[in-house]
Each structure stands twice: as structure tokens, then as C-alpha cells.
């Protein structure tokens, strides 16, 4: 992979460290993380709990601040990127406002940005259609299933057309069938829009299936053990998960996790 200059990278982290001061000593959530993500990449972060993958995502989103090292998002500091609304964030839970309809939930960032009613309506309709929720705009969150609520959350993250999508284990609380379906839809979305996606997961098949780059992390201290470039074709049916190439990559991921003492 030819190395590029910092400005071309969507995310460029160098020797990133984050240490929390807890009562019983410092917690090294991230140690010496070097990472480069290019435009249009679908990057998965995989590791056991406590390996720092959510923390890393939150640093990119300016929800946490690193103690050492540097990180740029779109060539700016994470704070500047946040103020420019450069990314959409999807949490582990749908995080929808219970008193708003799905339409008004998806339109929340647009309201805060101060867009006109016409533009809001158009964008909301477009993104709901994109995630397959057209017709559900007038419903309240409690009337939707978990999978549909999570799709609404993704629609909200897409509503203001940010080029970067940060997703923190969005399908973690869903059952496998819904998960497969949503994985397919997410891949389709990525192909259609060409966005850069950072996806945190603790499922190896999901990481290998969705991404073209897999960052394997391990805990204590949180660090990157391996970065795997996946050369699976962009057009992937679910069956590809039984192919030899897929299983080889999954094995590499598993080895990376074992090397990082994740299984101990």
C-alpha cells in the first residue's frame, strides 16, 4: 500500500495514547495507536471488551480527548471536525428520542443545523428510503422493533450527508437473522454512497464480511495488534462467508487476537 500524505487520509493517528486515571491506578485505554484510513474505506475494529475500540472511535468523534500522540480527521483536529459536522455517529443502542416520531428523530440533526422545512422533509424521506423504513415516518420508536429502531438511528446518521460514518457495535443487540439482513443493507449502502465507514464490532465474521480493512485490537493496554487488508470483492453475497478466502482472513484475525492475548 503506497503511503499517502496526512491531508489525503480521512483519519490519521500517530502514537495515540489515552490513559484514564482511575482510583486503583491508571487505565491505559489506548497505547501507541498508529492508524491511517483513506477515503472510501470500510474499516472494522475488532477485539474483546476493554481493548479500546470504542474509546478509539470516541476519540475520532471528539467525545474523548487523547493524553498523548496526534490524530487528525479530514486534516483537522477532531474538535474542528465535530464542529464542521464531518461525521455521523451511530451508538450501540438506537438512542432515539421517545417523544418524537421517526421522521422527527431522523430530522433532529437537521433541525439543530437550522435547515429549512422543505430540505428537512426531502432529506428525511430520502434517508428513510435508503434504510428501508419508508412508510414508518409517523410511528413512534416504541412501535418499532429493535432492528427497525437501529435502522432509524443509521438513517439519522446519514441525514446530513457527512462523508464519514462512525458506528459503535450498532448490531450488537440484535438477533442473527436481523443482523445478516442489516449487514447486507449496510454493504449496499456503502457501495451506493462511497462513504468512509469505521465500524466497531466484536464479531469476527461480521468484521471480515463488511470491511476492506480490519484493525485487530487487544486489551491491557489497548493497542493495535494487526491491520489486515481484505481483498474480497466489493460485491459480496452472504454466501461468501463460507468461501476459503473468507475463512483464511477470519483465521488471520483470530491469530491476531490470540497474539494479543485476547483469549486469556
Amino acid at each position: 500500500m503506497a503511503s499517502k500524505t496526512g491531508e489525503d487520509m480521512v483519519i490519521d493517528a500517530k502514537k495515540l495514547c489515552l490513559t484514564f486515571d482511575a482510583n486503583d491506578g491508571p487505565v491505559h485505554a489506548l497505547k501507541d495507536v498508529d492508524l491511517g484510513i483513506e477515503k472510501g474505506d470500510f474499516v472494522s475494529f475488532i477485539g474483546p471488551s476493554g481493548c479500546g475500540k470504542t474509546t478509539l472511535l470516541r476519540v475520532i468523534a471528539d467525545l474523548e480527548h487523547p493524553t498523548l500522540g496526534s490524530i487528525t480527521v479530514n486534516g483537522m483536529t477532531p474538535e474542528q471536525a465535530r464542529l464542521e459536522r464531518a461525521y455521523g455517529y451511530v451508538f450501540q443502542a438506537p438512542a432515539l428520542l421517545a417523544w418524537r416520531t421517526i421522521e422527527r428523530n431522523v430530522g433532529l440533526p437537521l433541525e439543530i443545523m437550522g435547515l429549512s422545512a422543505v430540505e428537512k422533509a426531502e432529506r428525511v424521506a430520502r434517508t428513510l428510503d435508503l434504510v428501508g423504513l419508508d412508510g414508518f415516518g409517523r410511528k413512534f420508536p416504541w412501535q418499532l422493533s429493535g432492528g427497525m429502531q437501529q435502522r432509524a438511528s443509521i438513517a439519522r446518521a446519514l441525514a446530513f450527508d457527512a462523508d464519514l460514518l462512525l458506528m459503535d457495535e450498532p448490531f450488537g443487540a440484535l438477533d442473527e437473522i436481523v443482523r445478516d439482513h442489516l449487514n447486507e443493507q449496510l454493504l449496499e449502502l456503502w457501495r451506493k454512497t462511497g462513504k468512509t465507514i469505521c465500524f466497531v464490532t466484536h464479531s469476527i465474521p461480521e468484521a471480515v464480511y463488511l470491511s476492506n480493512k480490519i484493525v485487530v485490537m487487544s486489551p491491557r493496554p489497548g493497542r493495535v495488534t494487526d491491520i489486515i487488508e481484505s481483498d474480497l470483492p466489493t460485491d459480496r453475497p452472504l454466501d461468501i462467508r463460507e468461501s476459503k478466502k473468507f475463512l483464511d482472513i477470519a483465521q488471520r484475525v483470530r491469530n491476531g487476537l490470540r497474539d494479543g492475548h485476547s483469549y486469556e
Binding site: A61, D62, L63, R82, L83, R85, Y87, G88, Y89, F91, Q92, A93, A95, L97, A98, W99, R100, T101, L108, P109, E111, I112, M113, F140, P141, W142
Partner: protein
């Protein structure tokens, strides 16, 4: 048992039980005086006579329920509303003070809660004083408030309403502070990623999230506002209102009058709380919160 019946039947059963016990106590508590009357007049008496006569005293120790109902009927339906003896007139006076005090208390409570949540200095300095204010017995403070406000030129409805305000703002503040702080961290992070201003977070996230808490507090606030209104009527020499009726009754030994005012106040409180409950139900339903 179907819907409406299943709601009414348990309450009706409890009310019936209370009635039985009440009548029992009426006979029991009024009989010493009645037996004395019999002995003075030298009349032979039976249990049946005793039961009948104890329920017909002019100034019983404990009036029978039907005596109270008759008295309420006499002073509401059979009197002109403008008459100074009409229970509706007095109820209206108390109600106006209650509602005004409740409205002011709710607005004050919401305002204080917002400033406590948004401003750290207010949070640290106000909360202790708010709690302290409620530890002073209202019966001690009420006359002071009335006298002070009369001296400044405010008399009539406003001082009484201010006592109601004083009592009712507290549950609203406590409930709203909890409600405004109720959205979980994930939602706060979400607003942070949208670069939402403090005002936007307050208006779009905190205030809507606090509505269920507000209604719960308002139920307490309106009941206690009524108590404040009645207490406020006592120091002014008992001119008008249910509290005044209570006081006048106790001055002249008219126990039936006291009890009729008491029952009316209790019914008024129950109706007011029920109204808040109905408003709460429909509002929360419209807001999509399953309540």
C-alpha cells in the same frame, strides 16, 4: 369483570366499608351525651332509640354521613351562590387561591429547576435553601406572610395564593431537576456530536424528557396548594373560603359545619388531582410516551 365496572367496584367496596365503620363510630361516640340526656329526662331507652337519636344531634361529636350530606346539600343547592353561607361561594374562594398559587408555584418551580440544572453556581447555592424553606411549619409562616404582604398593600387573593405557591413550588423543583437530568449519557453524547448549543439541548432534549416527572410533581403540588389556600384563610380572621368555614364552625361548635367543609375540601382535592391525571394521560399519549 369488564373495564368500567372493574374500576368502580373496588372503590365502591372500600367506600361502603368506611361508611359502615363511620356509622358505628357515630353511635359509639355520640352515645355518652345521649345517654346523659335520657337519664336527665328519665326516659327508658332501647338500642334502637339510641341508634336513631345519636344520628340526629345538632352538635354531635361525630356527625353521621347523612347529616354531613344534608348539610352540604343545604349550603350548596339550597343557597344562592352569592350568599355568604353558600359552600359553593366558599369553595370558589378557596379554589381561586389554590389555582393561582398552583400556577405560580409551577412556573417558579420550572424556572428554578432550569437555572439549577444549567448553572453550577445556582445548583450549589439554591438547593439547600429550597429544602430548608420547606422545613419551617407552614402554620407558623402563613400569618407572617399575610401580615407582611398586607403591610405592603397586597391583600385578598394574592397573599393566600403566595402561601400556596410557597408550598407547591417545592415538589415541582425537585421533580423537574430530576427530570431535566434524566436523559442518559448516550443522548447527551448524541447532541454533542451535532454541535448542539446548551439552549438546543435544553429545549430539544431535557425539557421533553422531564414532562412525565413534571406531571407527577404537579399532582402533589396541586393537592398541597389546596392545603396552603386553606391555611392562608385562617389568619385573616376567617372571612371567606373553606378554611374560614372550618374555623367559624370550630368557634361556634358547629361540628356538622366543620365536617361538611372538610369533606368538600377533600372532594375538591381529589377532583383537582384527577384532572391533572387526565391531562397527564392525554399529553403523554400525544408525546408518544406510553403512559
Amino acid at each position: 369483570m369488564t373495564g368500567a365496572l372493574s374500576r368502580v367496584f373496588p372503590i365502591a367496596t372500600v367506600v361502603a366499608a368506611i361508611m359502615v365503620v363511620w356509622y358505628g363510630f357515630t353511635v359509639y361516640l355520640n352515645s355518652p351525651w345521649q345517654i346523659e340526656q335520657y337519664e336527665k329526662a328519665g326516659i327508658e331507652w332501647q338500642m334502637g332509640d339510641l341508634v336513631r337519636d345519636t344520628m340526629a344531634h345538632d352538635r354531635p361529636i361525630l356527625p353521621a354521613p347523612h347529616q354531613i350530606v344534608t348539610e352540604i346539600w343545604k349550603t350548596t343547592v339550597e343557597k344562592k351562590i352569592t350568599s355568604k353561607r353558600s359552600l359553593i361561594f366558599h369553595g370558589g374562594v378557596t379554589l381561586s387561591s389554590t389555582l393561582l398559587g398552583f400556577a405560580m408555584g409551577t412556573i417558579l418551580g420550572i424556572g428554578l429547576a432550569v437555572s439549577i440544572v444549567e448553572n453550577r453556581a445556582m445548583d450549589k447555592s439554591l438547593m439547600p435553601w429550597i429544602i430548608t424553606s420547606q422545613t419551617i411549619p407552614i402554620l407558623a409562616i402563613a400569618p407572617m406572610i399575610i401580615v407582611v404582604l398586607n403591610a405592603v398593600g397586597l391583600s385578598g387573593l394574592l397573599p393566600k395564593a403566595m402561601i400556596s405557591t410557597y408550598l407547591s413550588f417545592f415538589p415541582v423543583v425537585v421533580g423537574m431537576v430530576k427530570g431535566l437530568r434524566s436523559p442518559d449519557l448516550m443522548l447527551m453524547d448524541l447532541m454533542h456530536t451535532y454541535k448542539a448549543s446548551r439552549w438546543q439541548v435544553l429545549w430539544k432534549l431535557r425539557l421533553p424528557a422531564s414532562v412525565p416527572f413534571l406531571f407527577a410533581s404537579m399532582k402533589v403540588a396541586i393537592a398541597i396548594s389546596l392545603v396552603g389556600a386553606i391555611v392562608g384563610e385562617l389568619p385573616t380572621g376567617a372571612v371567606a373560603g373553606l378554611g374560614a368555614r372550618l374555623l367559624a364552625g370550630s368557634y361556634y361548635g358547629q361540628t356538622i359545619q366543620i365536617w361538611s367543609a372538610l369533606i368538600s375540601a377533600a372532594c375538591m382535592a381529589a377532583i383537582l388531582v384527577a384532572i391533572v391525571g387526565v391531562v397527564s394521560h392525554f399529553t403523554l399519549k400525544r408525546m408518544g410516551l406510553r403512559a
